[in-house]
């Protein structure tokens, strides 16, 4: 059994100036590329497959498998690209930004190895625009890496060339969706593309492209150094490795906890000092607002991809938002729905219209003007969004609503009852006047 906390990605975070190249080099930094650049590309792809590394951006797709979709030849007319998804905008998610602030070189080293393995000579880091300090650190780290010969031409005499461009976004959650991100990186409105073709066939500039999350790629150097068996000493059979759990909300010690995949909420709460002021837990998300809510009955669900799915939710980004008894579920659901309404890109009707109406109904309900039929109307609208939207934002938007009603229907009903009572009261007043 691994320890309750397994600092791998977070192991340098306590070191002074952990973001500097000198610190990184003192703590085994840039040893994995020396190892990797000597090997055939296929061997690295196979290693990542064997390790079972699954994407940390939400969907959990096996990284090695994704890499193997890239053409295994180099054609100067069809350059390959690696694009790092650093758009971190899923509500509750707050792991990639601190990772890049604390240890940007681990991401850069991962980019070098992944680019080499996929025969890409240009890598883009698409980072959301609202995180200036993080962007500054990335620029500084990229400069340091160029100066030290880890980037540019003929890296460490290996014959491999790589350029990294740090690209700041401009405030749009949908740009985290990988094909919207590519459109945005091409200087367009960030709207999702039809798939297929998948990015490995036609991605950035219609060239073979892989999009991976920050945490996914930052994990790669450790796998190269430690091997797949070492990686599998943490986590579960189908969800191996360590994972940064971001615990926020009504707990004593919110923060970033890097633990083996499969850790439960009960264990995480213990690490985080328990519920704030002892006020009991009411609901929580395992991986951001797009993953269905869970309750105090789910404290022992293993938080890996399989466990979260079996419990009727999703692992998502392991953004554990914890809410205590004082928080109204209809209110929280209304707030999230407004978010999806605001962030819907407008490309498809179910999501554009659906999120608008859902927000209207929920606002009315929270203000105490809802009816029981509204609950059914909402579930109906959700049915029409789920699986019928162009991208997964639509699916995510219905998660809080459906799960909120599933577990806390009484709370929605209570708001309607209040409303009914008020209406009949005023009817009585009217009658007696």
């Amino acid at each position: 059994m691994a320890d309750p906390i397994t600092p791998v990605l977070t192991k340098r975070w306590l070191s002074p100036n952990s973001w500097r190249l000198s610190t990184y080099e003192q703590l085994e930094g840039y040893t994995a590329i020396k190892n990797a650049l000597r090997k055939p590309q296929e061997q690295i792809v196979a290693l990542i497959k064997d390790a079972g590394l699954r994407g940390r951006g939400g969907a959990g797709f096996p990284a090695g498998v994704k890499w193997s979709f890239m053409p295994q030849t180099s054609d100067p007319a069809r350059p390959h690209y690696l694009v790092i998804n650093a758009d971190e905008g899923e509500p509750g998610t707050c792991k990639d930004i601190p990772l890049m602030m604390a240890d940007p070189h681990s991401l850069i080293e991962g980019c070098i190895i992944a680019s080499y393995a996929m025969r890409a000579n240009h890598c883009f880091i698409y980072v959301r625009g609202e995180v200036l300090h993080c962007i500054r650190r990335l620029h500084a780290a990229v400069r340091e890496a160029y100066d030290a010969g880890y980037l540019g031409n003929d890296i460490l005499g290996s014959g491999f060339d790589l350029d990294i461009t740090v690209h700041a976004g401009a405030g749009a959650y949908i740009c985290g969706e990988e094909t919207a991100l590519l459109d945005s990186l091409e200087g367009r409105r960030g709207q999702p593309r039809l798939k297929p073709p998948f990015p490995a066939a036609a991605g950035l500039y219609a060239k073979p492209t892989t999009v991976n999350n920050v945490e996914t790629i930052a994990t790669v150097p450790y796998i190269v150094n430690g091997g797949s068996d070492w990686f599998r000493e943490m986590g579960t059979e189908k969800s191996p490795g360590p994972k940064i759990y971001s615990v926020s909300g009504h707990v004593e010690n919110p923060g970033q906890y890097e633990a083996p995949l499969g850790t439960t909420l009960r264990e995480l709460l213990e690490l985080a000092g328990g519920m704030k002021d002892g006020v009991p837990l009411k609901f929580w998300t395992p991986g951001g607002s797009s993953t269905p809510l869970l309750t105090a009955d789910h404290m022992d669900v293993p938080l890996d991809f399989e466990g979260a799915a079996e419990a009727g939710s999703m692992l998502g980004t392991t953004a554990i938002m914890v809410f205590n008894e004082t928080v109204s579920v209809p209110w929280a659901v209304m707030k999230w729905t407004r978010f999806y309404e605001h962030e819907s890109c407008g490309k498809c009707t179910p999501c554009r219209e659906g999120t608008f109406w859902l927000a209207q109904v929920l606002e009315r309900m929270v203000e105490g003007r809802g009816t029981e039929e509204d609950i059914d109307t909402m579930l109906d609208v959700c049915d029409n969004i789920l699986g019928r939207s162009f991208c997964a934002l639509g699916d995510g938007a219905v998660s809080p609503i459906e799960s909120g009603i599933k577990y806390f229907r009484d709370e929605f009903l209570a708001l309607c009852e209040d409303n009914k009572a008020k209406q009949s009261d005023s009817a009585l007043v009217g009658a007696s006047a």
Binding site: A168, S184, G249
Partner: protein, 240 residues
Amino acid sequence: MTESTEVFDADIHAKAAEIIGRYPVARSALLPMLHLVQSVQGYVSQEGISFCAEQLDLTDAEVSAVVTFYTMYKRKPCGEHLVSVCTNTLCAAMGGDAIYKKLAGHLGENGTPLGHEQTSGTPGEQGSITLEHAECLAACDLAPVLQVNYEYYDNQTEQSAVELVDALRKGERPQPTRGAPLTDLKSAEQQLAGFFPDEEQFTADVDGPSAAEETLRGATLAQDRGWVAPAMRDEEANHG
């Protein structure tokens, strides 16, 4: 309409060209170039749109369609500082909604609260502040958070937020919890376009604080308890 060349000098033209040089296809430069334009005027004006269109061989309409898609591009002149309060659910439940409401009232005039993306004071002048509510800022463990010019002020209260904007109005620049010493919105936008101050200042900025207690909690707990990840075997490290 003013000619874009009157607003954007040779230096900005050179910077625009430099941005284009970062990409295999010129149009990719549009988002950073719009940040550059905002660094000059504090918003994306019609001249700013034409400027980008000229550099990238696009039509004004094509650039406009992009500008309106992204919330960070402002269509009206902004204050010296942009204050963004996270009001997404987690922060809101932890006090973010109350902070936003408090600031809107505090910065408003004659009993009318300041609206979303409205400015207190004369845009561009010292002490002027544009207020907005923001979606999740990827700092939920430090909730409730707000940003000034996209630098983080963590674990805010109504009182700390009011003190912060009062200081800004007086021309002071309180240090962010995590970030470089505060400048103004235009300077921040220049950095978002990928242009940073000279070496000495840049080094100081980069080394500005980031290590919040919350960020380090897991790592600190592991250190205190002696918890570690499984050891890597040496032969793996050497031969893999």
